[in-house]
Amino acid sequence: MSRFFVDVGTIARRELLRYRRERMFLVGQILLPVLAVLLIGFGLNRPVGELGGGIDYASFLASGLLVLTISSGAIGGGYTLIQDVQQGFLRPILVAPVSRASIVIGKVAARLLLSAVLVAALIAVLALFTSLRLPRPDLALVAIGGVTLGFVAAGILLATYLRNAESFRLIAVFATLPIYFLSGMFFPVETMPSGMRALALANPLTYGVDLLRFATTGARAFPLWLDLAVVAALAALPTALAVRAFERRLAG
């Protein structure tokens, strides 16, 4: 068993080494939401006024962008697993005396760590000019974990069907755009027109956004138990599907 954890650590270590090479990209992932909050959030602060839970628009948007940052990063992270298969990098690992599960878990663990670090860094910066804080770090971790797992798995699933990087990027953007806009990231679900609101309520990410917003601002639109249940499902269902798809891919 300890051998298993060492292997998970080894795979995660490789991922982290790769992230280190992408420092500039990571800095961009922090700068972009900060710019959006400064320019859009404060631009709309006065016209929008106070929102549900008593927070201003800049803080509302800031908490939503935390989810955008980790989910868009995670979906690309899922893609790299398939890239590893394609580029042959996994073959020597598959020949080594290492369990298959430790490969996937190691990759996901590295992505979870990165998500947590990104959110922590973003909160630290955004706290300077919004009311974003971390009153419920426990719930924040649940939200980060659920959203990251769900989107890594979605990336793996998408990548098993779309083998080349260009079409993956294109489809990833088009498929996620409505999911992001209908999640309460940018504007509240309660005030959407009824048809739009129905779609937003059916979108599992809506509850991930709500959970992380509650954990960082204290404001929420849905009961806590509902947020937690949907986030758990968001993590579990795509993961189960992705593991099956990945095993089939390896068998072929």
């Binding site: 490789r14 996994l90 073959r91 020597p92 020949v95 080594a96």
Partner: protein, 313 residues
């Protein structure tokens, strides 16, 4: 009794309607440098994939050092190293980081010193900290060999090690592989469609064709099994020379064309002086000889010549 390094018994692999391996029997003793020859699609890579536990056989048996590749997978995985046909390094990491990752996956101790030894072995110490994407094909292949050897496997598989390398890189690679002979407990199994490579590196070879073994033996045995060396002698009096040579029992296929006489003999290098003695009365002007090579054997057993990419004519 020590088990063979590799043993295949009636090994089959089918993909639906397609038969990749149609009952392969093969035994390679420990310490041997063994070459699997054959055109693309003959079943070389499939055999290696099964032996390295990446593919399951459809029928038959494959063992590495006595361990069954399906039932005793962990033991097989610990015993083998492999260098793939296509690069399998992480191009974003340096060579040293790639080797370190590998050493961790095998739970090796003393990693730094071990990695340095491996880098020295393949002459890659100087470029070890450059990202792999900046390295040439030959350097990458050498790094893969260093990685394949880092955990001291007893059987190393090399799938087309010199494919895609230019001539100097290929020669450098062969030099590094020759050094491995000093490690007497290491068995090397290489697949290749380069007859040069097989003659240069291998103690034993097997020719694969259409999913089966067509012939096996030492490169020399295989070469001479298909008709021997040819000698051409130019005579003052070719008829006289030819009749003298025909009287020899070890000479065959004697034919006269103008002033030159062609013949076939088992081992030209050792027989030639004697033959020239016998035929001296014919008045020898010039001699040409061509030793049978693996290419002739390949042509004989597969019915095809092979181009440098491994495709059949």
């Amino acid at each position: 009794m020590t088990p063979p390094a590799v043993q295949l018994r009636a090994l089959e692999k089918r993909y639906g309607e397609i038969t990749a391996l149609a009952g392969v029997d093969l035994s390679v003793s420990q310490g041997c440098f063994f070459g699997l020859l054959g055109p693309n699609g003959a079943g070389k890579t499939t055999s290696v994939s099964i032996l390295s536990t990446l593919l399951r056989p459809s029928a038959g048996e494959a063992r590495v050092l006595g361990h069954d590749v399906v039932r005793e997978r962990p033991a097989v995985r610990r015993a083998i190293g492999i260098v793939f046909q296509e690069s399998s390094l992480d191009t974003e990491l340096s060579g040293r980081e790639n080797l370190d990752l590998h050493a961790r996956l095998y739970h090796l101790d003393d990693r730094a010193a071990r990695i340095d030894r491996m880098l020295d072995l393949v002459g890659m110490r100087r470029d070890a900290d450059r990202p792999v994407r900046q390295l040439s094909g030959g350097m990458r292949r050498r790094l893969e060999i260093a990685r394949g050897l880092a955990h001291e496997p007893r059987v190393l598989f090399l799938d087309e090690p010199s494919l895609g390398l230019d001539v100097p890189a290929r020669r450098a690679l062969w030099g590094h592989l020759e050094v491995l002979r000093e490690r007497r407990d290491l068995t090397l199994i290489l697949t290749t469609h380069s007859m040069d490579e097989a003659e240069r590196l291998c103690d034993q070879v097997a020719v694969m064709n259409a999913g089966g073994i067509a012939a096996s033996g030492t490169p020399r045995e295989l070469a001479s099994s298909v008709g021997g060396d040819s000698i051409e002698i130019e005579f003052e009096d070719p008829e006289r020379g030819a009749s003298l040579l025909r009287s020899r029992p070890d000479v065959s296929a004697v034919s006269v064309d103008g002033r030159s006489v062609s013949l076939t003999v088992e081992s030209a290098a050792t027989r030639l002086p004697e033959l020239l003695d016998v035929a001296r009365a014919g008045g020898v002007h010039a001699v040409r000889m061509r030793e049978a090579n693996l290419e002739d054997a390949f042509l004989h057993y597969t019915g095809h010549r092979i181009d440098p990419e491994g495709n059949l004519d």
